[in-house]
């Protein structure tokens, strides 16, 4: 699986430190309702919205990215809330994500076909 590292610098929004995207999924969620997953049994954490001009978008995060790790923590087998907490730690200014995205694979696949 192709992955990409993305480093997002959190932004103060009032009293909140925000990343500027939203997540869905988690092992406590119904994976069948995830519009982004290929495998509908995938209970991973997905990026469901990215706010325009927000830190996440600036850092290159895309809608539908599957978050594999947050600062090294595995995100493929966590509850929704666990993922949210990992992302929103107050004492961390920077979040390093390991994400995988289908478009990435597609792009690579296409480039490989070209050769």
């Amino acid at each position: 699986m192709l992955t990409q590292r993305i480093e997002i610098h959190k932004l103060w929004d009032g009293d909140n430190l925000i990343l500027g995207f939203s997540i869905g999924g988690g092992i406590d969620q119904d994976p069948s309702q995830n519009p982004f997953s290929e495998d509908k049994a995938d209970k991973g954490i997905y990026v469901t919205r990215v706010s325009k001009g927000g830190p996440a978008e600036v850092a290159g995060l895309r809608l539908g990215d599957k978050i594999m790790q947050v600062n090294g923590w595995d995100m493929t087998m966590v509850t929704h809330d666990q993922a949210r907490k990992k992302l929103t730690k107050k004492n961390e200014d920077v979040v390093r994500l390991l994400v995988t995205r289908r478009s990435l694979e597609d792009a690579v696949r296409q480039s490989m076909m070209q050769h």
């Binding site: 925000i18 939203s22 406590d28 469901t48 923590w73 087998m77 929704h80």
Partner: protein, 999 residues
């Protein structure tokens, strides 16, 4: 002492002039005296019991005067006590006790004459200016007189505050800064000191004179000391507190360091500081310490000098200043000195030199003060050699009988200082505690608890706290035997002094660790502790004001101590639990405090831990013990949990499972079988006509969320264990509430939380969680979910073969896990299949054959037999190479003494059974029979406190020594390992709307 009006400059001037004149007279007299004395000294005819007034001024001349000034101040009174003593033989002590103007004043001068008698002159003076003078002639014990004692019973170092210096400094202070500092009190002080010289002094601005009965000329000086020390007393009014935070009445010493009148005032410091140091800081070092289950243990040590920093108190600061040193030095030589003095000493030395050099000019350079000798001496001996003081053989500590005798001294400061010294001596010294007990010191200390003076009962309480700490229960019993517990409670009701309250509750906490005292504490103190501490500090309000925001709990030391005490007493069996549950406001307040902790995300502290433990203990056996519990018994469930599989009596809302996971067999079963009572939300729930309060709160489903929050957020193993234990207790039993709790845990998504904690590094957390899961699996739905998703984590906690997993869990924990596995595979071949899939058979067989623990062997054997009882699984097992013999009990019988091991544990050795036989009795199936489970049973603290084994490890030390989980790292590691997805939540709760969170 508050009125500090500045008199007119003229009057000040006049007063200063007059004082100067007196001072001159005094100086002359002093010098004469000194000549006399030095003559005597030269002749070598120093009478042992004669007062020696100073030396001829050489710094090589040992200080002949021993002086101690004690100043006791509490908000309401002020006491200064001065003693002048000849080093080796105390000839004379003069005590001046002075109280606030406006309160009856008593001046006592005690003069000890050669014949060993003490004349005590007391001048009482009340507001109406009536004078009562009485002469008391008493014979005091020689020992007391012979040992120059500081206010706290420490021996006095020599020359800590030479007489002359006081006079001098005050004088000079007035000359230079008089205008600034002259206040009615200060004036009176000075006046008084000069008047003393002529046997009378002005005590008040209104020039009221009092008479001192003095033994002889020396008495003048002694008295003078007392008066002057009073001047010191008033120093707190100075505006420049060096570090801030000084309590006004305490700040009199340190500020002087930064006085603008500089060194002139300095000589007072030793006096004040000796006061401080002995009277205050010494004991105070012991006061700020936190307690464990028993407190003084971890409180003080060389590393713990922080109290000084933590307590921005004059005494603290004072200790760091030069003057403190003078007093402290003799201590170093004392046999009782402890290592922890050293860092402080060092610090003192470090700080002191610049200070000394700056502030204490060489004596000879100041001829005008040389006449008073004392300063000379001070300057002379201080700067060059500290060690010479230490080697001074003339001082010794008072011995224990002396200190205890001083507890009964007629003068309050002596009492309080003796108590403070006792506290110091007893700190971490079991031998001394024992000696105090055997010398009958404890009843005296307890008696002092009722003393009206705050300083006295405070110090007595401090001593009791240290005495009450330790393994020697006899000390605790001794406190109880002289009615110490009701006395402590009385004082708790009476005092508003936070420090005293901390000491009281700390002592009670210590006492509560001894089983036989628990009920005594409950009988005398439960409601008082609840009303005085728990409720107010929890933030809970009886009648909450609609408008005001609910208050948060305050994690004060008092609250921590009190909750710790309640935590201990709550483990004293059914009657104790009943009393606590029925104690008005207790459960409400504890719950409120915990909710506040969760709200503030402040859950790792000791107070929270204590509260959860109390809650856990009170939740134990609720289904049996609360009044009217019978009404809620679930008749359909009386057959035991084991029957649930076929009977399907569980109150599940099967509907909530939805049909999506049809592949999961249990899922359909659950729905099918739960159909008839799917609306459990209303089912059987007792109708509430009024808001729940008191002990009913213990088992309301609302608490589930609270405990789950703690389990999610807390990093404190003890809190985690207790929260899991509470769920464990609440989910035990067959009554309506436990049914409801079990379902609520599922609906609140508690199962994944619990399963995650199976990976905890803490043995006891794993144990509590495992048993909680066992109880929760009484609910069929839970059993299915746990079987599907928790099996791997359960199995991974089992030792594999000879080799234990990294965690090296205790036997109890392994047994608990085995029992939980057993519980969840009973009546569920699907779960048994999961067990096989989780490759548990290897481990189980290994345990069964090789474990050194009979209990482990037996528990593993039960599991194996149950697995084998599922005929449909045998095929798969055989394919894996297993055969019947692997699942049979090891025929060697009980080589490991399985029966003897834990009686009552699970005695029934199961026959190899067929599934149809449904031998359910074995599962202990009956609802986690509390009795049967032993230490891994329901009530954690209960068990723990009763088994000494746990008591020592878990009950107390454990609380401090366990390394708290530092961060998430530990806990999250296992998530990364290739674990199966933990999805132990009801589908129905989640499915409706996918959650989407902005981050």
């Amino acid at each position: 002492m508050e009125e500090y009006d500045v008199p007119s400059a003229a009057s000040i001037l006049a007063s200063v002039k007059e004082q100067e004149a007196r001072f001159e007279r005094l100086t002359r007299a002093l010098e004469e005296e000194r000549r006399n004395v030095s003559l005597q000294l030269e002749r070598g005819s120093l009478p042992s019991d004669r007062l020696v007034g100073g030396t001829t001024g050489g710094s090589n001349q040992p200080l002949a005067w021993q002086q101690m000034v004690m100043q006791e101040q509490s908000p309401s009174n002020q006491t200064s006590l001065a003693m002048m003593q000849e080093p080796q033989e105390v000839v004379e002590e003069t005590v001046t006790i002075e109280e606030d103007p406006g309160t009856p004043t008593s001046h006592v001068s005690v003069v000890t004459s050669d014949d060993g008698t003490t004349r005590r002159t007391e001048t009482k003076d009340n507001v109406t200016n009536m004078k009562v003078t009485k002469m008391v002639k008493t014979v005091t014990t020689r020992t007391v007189r012979q040992v120059p004692l500081g206010p706290d019973g420490l021996p006095l170092p020599e020359g800590s505050s030479p007489l002359g210096s006081y006079t001098d400094s005050i004088d000079r202070r007035y000359m230079k800064n008089g205008e600034r500092f002259i206040t009615p009190q200060a004036t009176s002080t000075l006046t008084r000191s000069y008047n003393n010289y002529s046997d009378s002094y002005n005590d008040a601005p209104d020039s009221q004179f009092r008479h001192y009965t003095l033994h002889d000329g020396y008495g003048d000086m002694a008295d003078n000391y007392g008066s002057l020390s009073r001047g010191v007393n008033y120093r707190p009014y100075r505006p420049y507190m060096p570090t801030g935070g000084y309590r006004p009445e305490n700040s009199y010493t340190l500020p002087i360091r930064k006085d603008d009148y500089g060194h002139v005032a300095q000589p007072q410091v030793p006096m004040g500081s000796s006061t401080m140091d002995l009277n205050r800081s010494q004991p105070e070092r012991f006061q700020p310490e936190p307690y464990g289950l028993e407190d003084d243990r971890r409180s003080l040590g060389p590393d713990d000098e922080e109290p000084y920093d933590l307590e921005p108190d004059y005494s603290t600061a004072n200790r760091r200043t030069l003057p403190g040193r003078t007093i402290r030095e003799p201590l170093r030589n004392g046999p009782r000195m402890r290592g922890y003095e050293d860092p402080i000493e060092t610090e003192l030395i470090d700080e002191r030199h610049p200070y000394i050099h700056g502030m204490y000019p060489a004596p000879l350079a100041q001829p005008e003060r040389g006449s008073l000798a004392s300063l000379d001496r001070m300057g002379g001996r201080r700067s060059p050699s500290i060690d010479s003081i230490r080697k001074d053989p003339r001082w010794r500590d008072p011995d224990l009988p002396e200190v205890i005798a001083m507890l009964g001294h007629p003068i309050d400061p002596v009492k309080s200082n003796a108590a403070a010294y006792l506290q110091h001596l007893c700190y971490e010294n079991d031998k001394i505690k024992k000696d105090v007990r055997q010398l009958k010191g404890i009843p005296v200390l307890v008696g002092l608890l009722d003393h009206p003076k705050a300083e006295v009962h405070r110090k007595a309480c401090g001593a009791l706290r240290n005495i009450s700490y330790g393994k020697d229960h006899d000390n605790k019993v001794a406190i109880k035997s002289c009615d110490g517990i009701p006395a402590l409670i009385r004082l708790l009701r009476k005092t508003n002094d936070m420090e005293v309250r901390e000491l009281i509750t700390g002592t009670l906490w210590n006492l509560s660790s001894y089983e036989p005292l628990k009920m005594v504490i409950i009988n005398h103190g439960l409601q008082t502790m609840t009303n005085e501490v728990i409720i107010p500090h929890s933030g809970w309000e009886h009648e909450p004001n609609e408008d005001s925001k609910p208050r948060d709990a305050e994690w004060t030391t008092v609250f921590k101590n009190t909750s710790g005490c309640l935590r201990n007493v709550s483990s004293d069996g059914a009657e104790a639990r009943r009393r606590l549950r029925e104690c008005e406001g207790l459960v409400d307040a504890l719950l409120h405090a915990l909710q506040s902790a969760v709200g503030k995300k402040d859950m790792d502290n000791k107070s929270v831990e204590n509260c959860v433990c109390v809650m856990r203990n009170l939740s134990y056996h609720v289904h049996k013990e609360i009044p009217g519990a019978e009404k809620f018994q679930d008749p359909s469930a009386l057959q035991g949990p084991g029957s649930a599989g076929t009977q399907r009596k569980k109150k599940d809302d099967a509907g909530c499972f939805g049909g999506k996971k049809a592949k999961e067999e249990w899922f359909n079963q659950g729905r099918k079988n739960g159909e008839h009572d799917k609306n459990y939300d209303t089912l059987d729930l007792p109708k509430r006509t009024e808001p729940t309060k008191g002990f009913e709160l213990l088992y309301q489903p609302e608490v589930v969320r609270l405990y789950l929050s703690l389990l999610t957020e807390s990093q404190n193993f003890n809190t985690l264990e207790a929260a899991a234990g509470a769920l464990q207790n609440l989910s035990a039993g067959q009554w309506t509430w436990s049914n409801y709790i079990r379902a609520t845990v599922r609906k609140e998504k508690g199962l994944p939380i619990l399963v995650e904690l199976l990976r905890s590094d803490s043995d006891k957390v794993v144990r509590a969680v495992a048993i909680a899961l066992r109880n929760l699996s009484i609910d069929r739905r839970n059993k299915d979910l746990i079987g599907s998703y928790a099996m791997r984590d359960l199995v991974s906690n089992l030792p594999s073969g000879q080799q234990r997993p990294a965690k090296n869990l205790e036997e109890d924990t392994v047994v608990a896990i085995l029992n939980t596995i057993h519980e969840i595979i009973i009546e569920s071949s699907e779960n048994a299949r999961s067990l096989i899939t989780a490759q548990a058979i290897d481990k189980l067989v290994a345990i069964n054959r090789t474990s050194q623990s009979a209990r482990e062997t037996k528990a593993a054997s039960h599991v194996l037999q149950t697995v084998w009882s599922y005929k449909e699984l045998r095929n798969a097992l055989t394919k894996d190479g297993w055969n019947k013999t692997h699942f049979q009990p090891i025929p060697t019988g009980t080589p490991k003494g399985s029966r003897s091991c834990k009686p009552g544990y699970d005695d029934t050795t199961l026959p190899l059974m067929e599934k149809n036989q449904g031998n359910r009795g074995c599962s202990g199936g009956d609802m986690i029979p509390m009795g049967e489970l032993g230490p891994d049973g329901y009530s954690t603290i209960d068990q723990r406190d009763k088994e000494s084994k746990y008591k020592s490890s878990d009950g107390s030390s454990d609380l401090q020594e366990r390394e708290p989980l530092k961060n998430d790292t530990n806990r999250k590691h296992y998530i990364r390992s290739n674990r199966p997805t933990v999805s132990l939540v009801d589908a129905c709760d989640v499915k409706p709307q996918p959650v989407d969170s902005w981050v």
